[in-house]
Amino acid sequence: MTRTRHAFRHFAGLAAGTLLLSALALPPALGATGATFVRARSSHGFSGTISALKKSISGHGMMVMGHVNQAKVLSMTGLHLKGGESFLVGNPRVGKKLFRMNPAVGAVLPLRMYVWEHGGHTWVGYFEPSELLDGINPRLAKPGQMMDKKFKAILTDATR
């Protein structure tokens, strides 16, 4: 009986250790798409964050090309989220350049920034542009890295 219990403990310890090592080995925010999900907690409320994000997008030379209010759309199904809105963010000049390089970039552009409320806090997040573009063609990774910097700056300003 004692031997059985000891063997079980040994197995449980091994399993827990394996799980912990696996968890540590995985990048924490790597999504199913293979792109890193970048997120930041905002110091503003939901509507304040939306307003700050719009200003930040504009301040960094980008524009909001589309808007999806997922929380409101989902309210039609009976699910009431406290907040969930996406903004399609782009820039005609950058878009023109990238579409010329490869018309398939339309699968990714305009890029999407999502604002949501969870656990009493407002969050802003997006998938790293360079990794999304790299998925289409590795040649697009370099202009994508410029977008990474731009999006990081937009995120920082909007959530500060």
Binding site: G66, H67, V68, N69, A71, K72, V73, L74, S75, M76, T77, G78
Partner: protein
């Protein structure tokens, strides 16, 4: 074989146009769900003209002396409003209390008609969606009255159950994610849809049965034996 003649062909033609106009509102959601066009475009180019024609026929019926048609449109309007309220009591209960519907149909129709889906429902889209939902109800009631006249109240039940079956096998339920006859959603879906349509039928049948008498079903009123055609006897 009895020789038949058309009586009052002008009124019959106006009745057929009114029937076509009344059927546009229920059909556009199905056409949009089947991918023929967007609900917004169908609303602009089919629904609004159909409502205008419907209204014009109702206004013209009195000066033109189309008594059956005029009374049918008035009863269809009242019965359609009452029947849609009855249907909504069941549908809202099913949706809110039992989660038996994948979404709110009037709100969905509103955001699709106003091309507002991505921003979700607001006051304007809800007004448009509910108006369209009631136009559907009035459309079905008007078709019932104009075709069948004033039959017994229970005859509305097979009529609306047929509508429910067509609805549950239409592309609308597929695009809403419920699947045909709610196969991908919940057994409560079929129950809610059938009960809502029975409630619609009970209100429709009762209002029509209490309304002013219409002279028989459409085929008996306008197609008369040749010997009666000249006498004006139905």
């Amino acid at each position: 074989m009895t020789d038949t003649r058309l009586r009052n062909p002008g009124e019959l033609l106006a009745t057929l146009v009114a029937l076509a106009a009344a059927s546009v509102s229920p059909l556009i959601f199905v056409a949009a769900a089947a991918g023929y066009s967007s609900m917004h475009d169908l609303g602009m180019h089919a629904l609004i003209p159909a409502l205008a024609v419907w209204f014009a026929i109702a206004v013209l019926s009195r000066p033109m002396g189309w008594s059956r048609l005029g009374r049918g449109l008035a009863i269809g309007f009242l019965a359609g409003i009452a029947a849609t309220v009855a249907l909504e009591i069941v549908r809202i209960t099913g949706f809110r209390a039992f989660d038996s519907m994948p979404g709110s149909m009037p709100e969905l129709m509103g955001v699709l008609l106003t091309n507002h889906f991505m921003l979700g429902p607001d006051l304007w889209s809800n007004v448009v969606g509910w108006a369209d939902h009631f136009a559907n109800g009035v459309g079905f009631a008007t078709i019932f009255v104009l075709v069948f006249g004033r039959p017994r109240a229970w005859t509305a039940i097979p009529y609306t159950l047929a509508i429910a079956v067509v609805f549950m096998s239409s592309p609308v339920v597929r695009v809403m994610g419920a699947g045909y006859f709610g196969a991908n959603y919940d057994p409560g879906f079929v129950v809610t849809v059938l009960l809502a349509h029975i409630a619609f039928a009970l209100a429709l049948g009762n209002v029509v049965a209490r309304g002013p008498a219409l002279q028989g079903p459409i085929w008996r009123h306008y197609l008369v034996p040749a010997r009666q055609a000249g006498t004006g006897v139905a």
